[in-house]
């Protein structure tokens, strides 16, 4: 592979993504794990930039780092374990490691003849854009329109909105205490009110 600036940047972002992901699993501190997750997702955003998809990169940061991971951290901070460093309680991991290694070796061993037969050809695809300049400059408008274009992605887009609604109903349903009186919903801050008059 020829060493270009893109290749170096790609390697750096890949290292961030994979290293971050690895640390999420390896670190014993839940809070650190969440921060490493953030780092990993940031690396993915970098890869999107490299692919000249700035919108996806921005959305990645806003949604995954700005909202989802932050909420994960919020949930972690609500657990009593937050300040404790987790210990490994089980002793089965060497067995798991050995099995995983065995599986990996097995896969490589069985697949190598096939890979040899197919050659490097099997790994690459033909439709890729060779020249980055061929990527439309204003892919943002194209993306936005294709989502609401009935000829393209309108159907899955609308179905996804249904999906989100179902998830929303479920979230409300699951956190709502069953003994709550639905009529009490009109005045949720009722518990905080007495100190106004007092």
């Amino acid at each position: 592979m020829e060493i270009t600036v893109e290749a170096i940047v790609f390697l750096v972002f890949s290292a961030i993504t994979l290293g971050g992901a690895l640390q999420v699993v390896l670190t014993r501190n839940l809070f650190h794990a969440a921060l490493y997750l953030m780092l990993s997702l940031f690396g993915v955003a970098g890869l999107f930039v490299l692919l000249t998809a700035p919108f996806l990169a921005g959305a990645q940061v806003v949604i995954y780092i700005g909202a989802i991971t932050i909420l994960i951290i919020f949930a972690i901070m609500l657990t009593p374990q937050v300040t404790r460093v987790l210990k490994v309680h089980h002793t089965q991991w060497p067995v798991a490691l050995a099995l995983a290694a065995l599986l990996f070796v097995g896969l490589v061993w069985t697949q190598t003849p096939l890979a040899d037969e197919l050659g490097a050809d099997g790994w690459s695809a033909d439709f890729t854009v060779e020249d980055p300049a061929d990527v439309p400059a204003d892919s943002l408008t194209d993306l936005g329109k294709s989502l609401v274009d009935p000829e393209r992605y309108m159907l899955p887009f609308e179905a996804a909105s249904l999906l989100l609604m179902a998830a929303l109903i479920g979230a409300v349903l699951l956190v709502n205490r069953p003994d709550d009186n639905p009529d009490a919903e009109a005045a949720p801050a009722a518990g905080a009110r007495p100190d106004q008059s007092g």
Binding site: F31, L35, M38, P54, F55, A57, G58, A59, V61, V62, I65, G66, A67, I70, L71, I73, F74, M77, V82, T83, D138, L140, A187, P188, A189, A192, R193, P194, Q196, S197, G198
Partner: protein, 401 residues
Amino acid sequence: MTDTLVDIGLSHDLAVLIAKLVGVFVVATCGLLWTLFGIWLERKVSGRLQDRLGPNRVGPFGLFQTLADTIKILLKEDLVPDGADRWLFNLAPVLSTFSVLLLWVVIPFSAGWIGTDLSIGVLYLLAAGSLGMVATLMAGWGSNNKYALLGAFRAVAQLISYEVPMVLAMLVPVLMTGSMSLQAIVEGQYIAYGLAIPLTVFIFLASSLAEIGRAPFDLLEAESELVAGFHIEYSGMKFGLFYVAEFLHAFTVGVLATVLFLGGWRIPFVSAQDTPALLGFGSLLIKSLLVYLVIMWVRTTLPRVRIDQILEFNWKFLVPLSLANLLVVALLWKIVPDTDQIASVNDALLPTLVLLTANILLIVVTSLILRERGRRERAHIAALYGPVDGAADAAPAGVGD
């Protein structure tokens, strides 16, 4: 500048790189130097607003007060609390300032004066802003202090909640321009958007105030409850960095409001092509300072609200309102003819008037609903605990129950 560098024999890529680096250096340094003056201004203005004098000892009108403070802060001992998460504790203030400076990359200071005119400018602002949230969390958690942790808790609840109406408000100028690039938004404002959509400006400013954690939304650091919230354990220049970040963020909100709603660097009645770069910059600065003055005014006048009130205000008032607002604007923008080819003040006149009328209607309707709600609430409280202050317009007891 790129051309000059190419002329002296550098390759084009290298020249661009150097030019960009110099730009970054200049903007970041100017931004930080501006804080020295800005903090003095802020203290002076809020002093006057609260019937005090403000700083007046160091230098003429106390101008060098901030400088003196900076030197003091630099000389302070650098403390790291016992049991703190060192890495996070030290990284947080840097990240905090960093996230604000990042915002300046896409801000158009004048015609052609822009770091990078990203096609996703508005989205970028949100992305960079969310890094600040991470910094707050890191500080709150890394300090090993329960007040700091509580501050961080509140930060998450508040910042995430208020991001929703802020995004919905920022979408309105994006929708009207048809682009997320900030430069394009400025150039599209033949008549400042703020004149057409005052309600959106209000929503943006209110939610931004909460985003930067300023009074009346400064629950992240509420002195009376949390001592200082997430930065309670910080001293010396690390605290200084938080302070600078907070100030710069507040000022940046002023700049953003100007760019999004007040025509940015454009001078009224002068076309974008005819605006000299330097005058444009001056125009941006003056408008931003005016917006910032309003922010200071709010800060010094309004008392802090409770956390449940803050969240209620957001989810039950701002979010529905901003959704309705976005829908109304989107609909009208589609109905009014030729909104996609506005090229002069005259073209922009009709849409502006239509939107303004709609906005006023929306404001009136909202106020009526609020008035009714307030009346019922007061009657409810009166029925429960006896009459409240100012019960003159409260309905007779028992009506709301």
